[in-house]
Symmetry: C2
Subunit: 616 residues, 2 copies
């Protein structure tokens, strides 16, 4: 060990001083929550963390995640001590235009996932560790700094559970048990043995340690590094504001920068350190990542026009084919793979399939973690249950994560299971995520082609699939660019355009036939790309279809297809079309799909009536 | 004990037979997941559950929650055995128009909360038990039937944690550990001691028992009933499909109704029971609920026009005053009460304030549980963190729950903390919930008046508040009906209407002054009620303001105010106004509120520019 206890203590003092300096300069931030973990992080940085700061994406690097993202000043102080950023840059904390933000984001290359919404760092770390252990087969380690307040989040127990289940001995989580939350004592205060017992019950090795005793911390890290077959939780008893007498274990200092006089007093207590120590961290771990094999061209599965295939099944077949073509594609599922058809992928590529059981928060976080390790994750569950992970999806966007989510069993058309299983707000939810892509195929061919594009699409990419079997509408030669649409029916004298996707597109086609038989011409548009949306085709339809657009969807009226179409005509000068939005009316019950669509007001008959009403 | 082991076994046989009968008649459903818990529920129904079936809302009744909602057939068989529903009604399972739905919903008066999204029954039960123990001070008990698959959900550990923390010895949770999930074995299969260890680590008493040994189950219930100071978890080892040889512990039978031939075979094995047993359950518990005191008139706090008050602070003052007027108002907060100002309520009404720590899923579920016990809960956290509980909010609507949520720290205007703390999708999220109400006050007076109306409003009622202090716009004599709006500026020659709420309304007023000085007249509308929306005022503005509506919001462009306004003009014949939607552009960083609003494109200058551009 090239560093001594004295070195660690000096480094810790600098980390404390820098945490104070940058927050005082910013006038806000979390110095005391940083100071409690300074000794823990000093020992980690100088002697345990394997990392090449010039090559942050190296798969042989350890990863360090501040799950307690508000301790960002400490993280930045570490980056400075490692020589990765300058003192000047560190001092731009929280200033507009600086990448030294209030909570860590991947604006900095050493930050793999954004944190700040508590309880999400460890779950993402579990995804990284799974990727390293099962796919790359490296010796890297994931270090996660947890706050004790965030231990109240259920997401952390999902992560503990999965880490224990998969025996991820490449994970070391450290609770900075400083006893004080935002508004007072935490639930368990300094009862560290309880955290340890919980971890053990989830299959972890657990160590309780004095978090300001650098030698003890060092030994705990060594014990963690030597532990095989299970992850380790280190519960470190610390004091918030540790190192400065008037801050240490004092209430009322959460999230407060020190005013100038207090800052000077604190610095004096710390011995007015020069803050110019630079630490040489250990090099990346040695074992080269396993070669994943050669990527080939994706061959989308082919379907015969008219055959009846559920889009959820086509999704399963498409990701399986994609997995064959691309060795870095992985599938993750929340214990419903026989419903989402992710089990097809599992059968073909068992080593790249990850079961996370019924833990949707962990499902999304695992995907976020895996993409940070260069994988292309597809995560699936019932569309309704992605609502369980909305915060993780939202934070995924802030993490600049490229993840693909597939939600099956959308809408009332799932039938008898009733409203708890029906996704009726998923389109609204994902549309409102920055930079997201929302896809909603109506047939197997479309699904297969879109899955291919999902693989290379950036950001949060969501596909909504349907439970029921529906007829294949297109031959394999068709193309379905994201941002496009398909005009399925068209004449020179259309009196309205019916815009739909998924199950309701098939209702629209039925309505077309009924209307046609009565001599009424309408356009039918397959809006398979909800975001981005094909504004051009919709604007043309508005012009050519007497300004009558009828949007019909198996979703609540708010936030879905109807609003997406309406948005095309905002921000633009008129004349504007009439946009009639037909969404689900009333809380659905159990019943047959057709009965429920009728009750919800979104079946072919309703579309026919809407077209006729619009003509008056 | 009036019932013998033989009685329990006979009842269990009937529950199994009825679970099979009604699912076979429906052609779908979960007979095997019902059968595994039949013995557990037989013993509970006959000898432990205190319940008046004619008076389900009696606060002296025990409560029974099927957290594993897919075992609904068993629940309905219990209702039948208790004489609450007829055999004929039970046999309408999953048929359109029947209240015997695929998963339990409060369409039935004995169902307090809808289940079916796993991991939500116990958290709601914790809310009920807290209400009974801390407020009503009755001796009722909350019984929760859990599935073993759902034990993977983090929300259940949030519930365990809170139940342990508050020492809720009136909670008995029973895991029906049948080893098999939807697509195969659960994570822990029959390792019941691990579930028990976890529960103990969260402060529970835990018992592992053979779930088909009625005498052992009875003793476990007695032990739970006798346990003081902590909740009890009973881990019952069971077999899925128990009671029928070809179903018992057999894979491949999840969620499948028995075809006729298999049904007959199963019935024969069960001894072709007559299925006509009626059980007399124990009467409600004796202790009368504590009187909560007399309700009075709500006196909204008063604010001086022009004073600078954050709406989050006005929220805290308003719920405090509401709590004074109405003794059944409770406040719940997720460890940020000094930021949401729920701590004012805590100070005034400590016995009605509930700290759930940083566990937002439990925060919402506690509110759902408390309203089921007749309380008026107000739950608060940062608006961004309600995304953590979207599934709970969605299910709350299916539960017909009346809950009030208040999200503070909305939008980029929170400043330096950065995007992880900024709610930018909350309006979209809650607008897309069925029957929801979405309020967004711009000043303290409005906040105070709206809080009063929230108390009696049905459904999911959400209020978005602002971190920054903003000037009070209205005097206390003004009224703010839900569904209304305020026209703050108006002339006979308005060239545009600026529609805003919250922080951006104040930008709109600044823009008004700038434009006025340049001789440009615009209307300014305070859209404090986002859902329902004041369509009349908006339509009048469209007509009177040259068809130029400019909507500006501190939210992503999708799903918020802009879409809400655009929706007013869908489904209606033209002419339609131009609706310009100004929402947040790009992922925000850290910075000062004003800097961030400028970067996001939603400040007064942008509004001025938009008005001028629209005039061209």
């Amino acid at each position: 060990m090239p560093y001594s206890a004295q070195d660690w203590r000096e480094l810790a003092t600098q980390l404390r001083a820098d945490s104070i300096r940058c927050t005082s300069a910013a006038g806000s931030g979390h110095p005391t929550s940083s100071m409690s973990a300074a000794d823990l992080m000093a020992v980690l940085l100088a002697g345990h963390l394997h990392y090449d700061w010039k090559d942050p994406h190296n798969l042989r690097n350890d990863r360090l995640i501040f799950s307690k993202g508000h301790a960002a000043p400490l993280l930045y102080a570490m980056y400075k001590a490692a020589g990765a950023i300058s003192d000047e840059e560190m001092m731009t904390l929280r200033k507009i235009g600086s990448r030294i933000e209030g909570h860590p984001t991947p604006a900095l290359p050493w930050v793999d996932v954004a944190t700040g919404s508590l309880g999400q760092g460890l779950p993402a770390g579990i995804g990284m560790a799974l990727s390293a252990k099962r796919l790359d087969k490296t010796d890297m380690r994931v270090w996660v700094l947890l706050g004790d307040s965030e231990m109240a989040e259920g997401s952390l127990y999902e992560a503990m559970q999965l880490g224990g289940f998969y025996g991820l001995d490449n994970v070391v989580a450290i609770i900075d048990m400083n006893r004080l939350g935002q508004r007072g004592p935490t639930m368990l205060e300094w009862q560290g043995e309880i955290y340890a017992e919980r971890a053990r019950a989830f299959g972890w090795h657990a160590i309780v340690v004095h978090g300001h005793d650098v030698q003890a911390v060092h030994q705990a890290y060594e014990e963690a590094e030597a532990t095989k077959g299970k992850p380790t939780l280190i519960v470190a008893k610390t004091e918030k504001g540790s190192g400065v007498s008037f801050l240490a274990n004092a209430d009322g200092w959460h999230g407060k920068a020190l005013p100038a006089a207090d800052e000077a007093k604190a610095m004096a207590e710390l011995g007015n350190p020069k803050c110019d120590l630079i630490i040489r961290t250990l090099p990346p771990t040695e074992k080269e990542p396993a070669a994943l094999g050669q990527a080939g061209a994706y061959q989308p599965p082919k379907y015969e026009v008219g055959a009846k295939v559920a889009t959820r099944e086509a999704y399963g077949e498409a990701i399986t084919a994609l997995g064959t073509a691309k060795p870095n594609v992985v599938a993750i599922d929340g214990e419903v793979s026989n419903s989402t058809y992710a089990d097809k992928f599992k059968k073909a590529h068992p080593e790249r399939f990850f079961e996370v059981y019924i833990a949707e928060q962990q499902l999304v976080s695992a995907a976020v973690g895996m993409q940070a390790m260069g994988k292309i994750p597809f995560a699936s569950t019932f569309a309704a249950f992605f609502t369980r992970a909305y915060d993780q999806i939202r934070m995924g966007a802030i993490s600049r994560a490229n993840i693909r989510l597939s939600g099956s069993h959308a809408g009332v058309s799932i039938g008898e299971d009733g409203p708890s299983q029906m996704a009726l707000e998923d389109l609204a939810m994902v549309r409102a995520v920055h930079g997201s892509t929302v896809l909603y195929p109506s047939c197997a061919t479309t699904t297969a082609h879109l899955v291919g594009q999902m693989a290379t699409r950036e950001g949060i990419v969501y596909m909504r699939t349907t439970r029921e079997k529906t007829p294949v509408l297109y031959g394999p030669e068709e193309s379905f660019p994201i941002g496009g649409s398909k005009v399925l029916r068209k004449s020179g004298k259309d009196t309205a355009a019916i815009i739909a996707a998924g199950i309701t597109l098939h209702e629209a086609l039925k309505a077309y036939d009924t209307l046609k038989a009565e001599g009424i011409d309408v356009r039918v548009i397959d809006l398979y790309s909800v975001k981005p949306i094909d504004a051009e085709t919709l604007k043309a339809a508005a012009k050519e279809c007497a300004g009558n657009l009828i949007v019909v969807e198996d979703h609540w009226p708010e936030g879905g297809l109807g609003d997406a179409v309406a948005e095309v005509f905002t921000d633009a000068s008129g004349p504007h079309p009439n946009v009639k939005r037909m969404g689900v009316q009333g809380i659905p019950q159990s019943g047959k799909p057709g009965e429920l669509m009728k009750a919800a007001g979104i079946c072919a008959d309703h579309i026919v009536a809407a077209v006729k009403a619009g003509k008056k």
